[in-house]
Symmetry: C2
Subunit: 391 residues, 2 copies
Amino acid sequence: MDIINLDHISSNPLLPEVKEAMIAALQEDYHNPSSQHKRGEAAAEVLGKARKTVSALINASNPKEVVFTSSGTESVNHAIKGVALANAQKGKHIVTSNIEHNAVIRSIRRLKGLGYSVTSIDVDKYGRVNPADVAEAITDETILVTIMHSNNETGTIQPIEEIAKITRQKKVIFHTDAVDSVGIVPIDVQKMGVDLLSFASNTFYGPTGIGGLYVRRGIMVWPLLDGGVQENNKRAGTENLIGIIGMAKAAEMAKQELSIRMAHLEMLKSKLITELPKYIDEVIINTPPEYSLPNLLSVSIKYIEGESVMLMLDDDDIAVSTRSACATGSLRASHVLISIGLSHADAQGTLVITLGQDNTEDHIDRFLKSLRNVVKTLRNISPLYRKISQS
Amino acid sequence: MDIINLDHISSNPLLPEVKEAMIAALQEDYHNPSSQHKRGEAAAEVLGKARKTVSALINASNPKEVVFTSSGTESVNHAIKGVALANAQKGKHIVTSNIEHNAVIRSIRRLKGLGYSVTSIDVDKYGRVNPADVAEAITDETILVTIMHSNNETGTIQPIEEIAKITRQKKVIFHTDAVDSVGIVPIDVQKMGVDLLSFASNTFYGPTGIGGLYVRRGIMVWPLLDGGVQENNKRAGTENLIGIIGMAKAAEMAKQELSIRMAHLEMLKSKLITELPKYIDEVIINTPPEYSLPNLLSVSIKYIEGESVMLMLDDDDIAVSTRSACATGSLRASHVLISIGLSHADAQGTLVITLGQDNTEDHIDRFLKSLRNVVKTLRNISPLYRKISQS
């Protein structure tokens, strides 16, 4: 199947260099890095090297501040639950936003069941949090602020540096879910001033099943996985060394190529935004013009259902998403789109188009042509659209 | 390096067939199984097939009872913390044994910090739990019994079926850590009658970074990772599909070859037990003659330190372990060996020899010869040994 992938946020293909590194690692039969004999030491050395490479992508001051996890979701759970449980004696209040990923929302919901309280901040029409609202939400009981770096449905990038200034001044731990940002836009944990940052390998063309959590030295966080002393005592369990090697190769290349990749994505996104109105009318662009990911465009197509568009595009061998793959199966309108002020009807007509390095201008042309036909067909059978167009 | 691996419990090499399956999977660029377009559906189908294969290895009645995790450690954490938190309204008492893996011990310790209480049962000189002791330890407040299937330091296999009869009768949830058993000895969750069972792919020559948790239908357990609806809502996070495919291939082969593999291991272990006294005197065999793993032999060599033996064997290109790789860095004597009645001195002189399919009779011969020299050298410089041999 020669399918055009415009759903990179759900899955990025592995880079050829990443595949090569992983295949070489598979052939190596590395031993357990915790074993104290020669074969264990050789594995530990490879692990240490990979940690250094990955930590460079986010500019951590020390590789030991990076914990390898099994996914962005695990990183988020580890950060939120780990900080909340480790700091319970200081307070049980958490500040977050209304547009977080389910990993954040549901981790916090779990903590509510254990007696924690939460203040969730609203966003503006661009999906942005106002740092002043964070300052206002923090109480003497607040132990954690968790605000995502970029949103997976609108692409909105938050003013993380400004929020970090507030949390530092108020001595509250700050975590940011940067799963859709690291490897796509420049991320510097030192410059940003965050205490914890979650990220995932697949975002930058590494394998799934492996992620990272940055934990600034000195931050109190309980392990999510207790047991052995792996990952500097922050995460037990034998390491996924093949995945880690793949992630490190992907991180190395993302760091090298970041500006070239961004330019490619911005060019395609700009073409998409410019040409979309030539193909279909009555669309709402949900992604803000500024402060947004270069690879994501969210559009709401009026009078039709995004789900139907997605399935019909699929028949044309074009993959897009209506919302996060993690929320698949949910029939409710996206909480993110409702939060930025969309009506339920417009939210249901939303497509999330996410671009990747493998996309070309031709892909955009073919997508727009296919979309025009799909929208025409669906609107023709939409009672609402007929009523409106006749009036 | 042509190193003889007698430390399989720390790391098993991947089977060639597993490598092949993983390399093919790497080339496929599977999409996200949660995505609803064709490419997502293709990935979901592969995932479903793998789950069926893995569930067959433990004879689960339904593949949906198997949750893919990132390690045996995660499975154990998920089972223990998940059951404890989900059933807190019924009670907060847990029954376990004195010889569990650190993943169990430390998960329970974490729960103690949240107000749970624990009864830890002692074992006999073979490391076996008496089921009557479990019955006695259960109170009206008990919500979970967790007893390992086989011990990673002595190889002792517990009377799990008998314990399960008691927990069923008393309506208490029963979890067993079978990380060192599944794929090595026959495991049938239905016949055993357990409610939850933890296992790991690398035990049966699959990749690290992937494990499984069997959860009998109807058992209340909170996810450890909250977020998306993956794994039938039991574990959020994009799946490690390449790892899962490797695990499924390894599971398929383990099921097919189990009896042949066991025969090979038993032959080597028997040779080791028979010939060891011909090479060195004053050794204690800690592994019980019956009810033990076919691939593990624990021996305590009097008057010397296991750590020194391990390092000197390493110089001879032979890898063994002194204890669990997960406990590396700990200077305390093994809690398992102390529990079976060993003195601190004898515990420190312990080697854990774990055999694999790649081992041959020649490996045993070379190991024994090397061990004889190492022990001779070390005893010659041991003041205690000289004192005793002169008296």
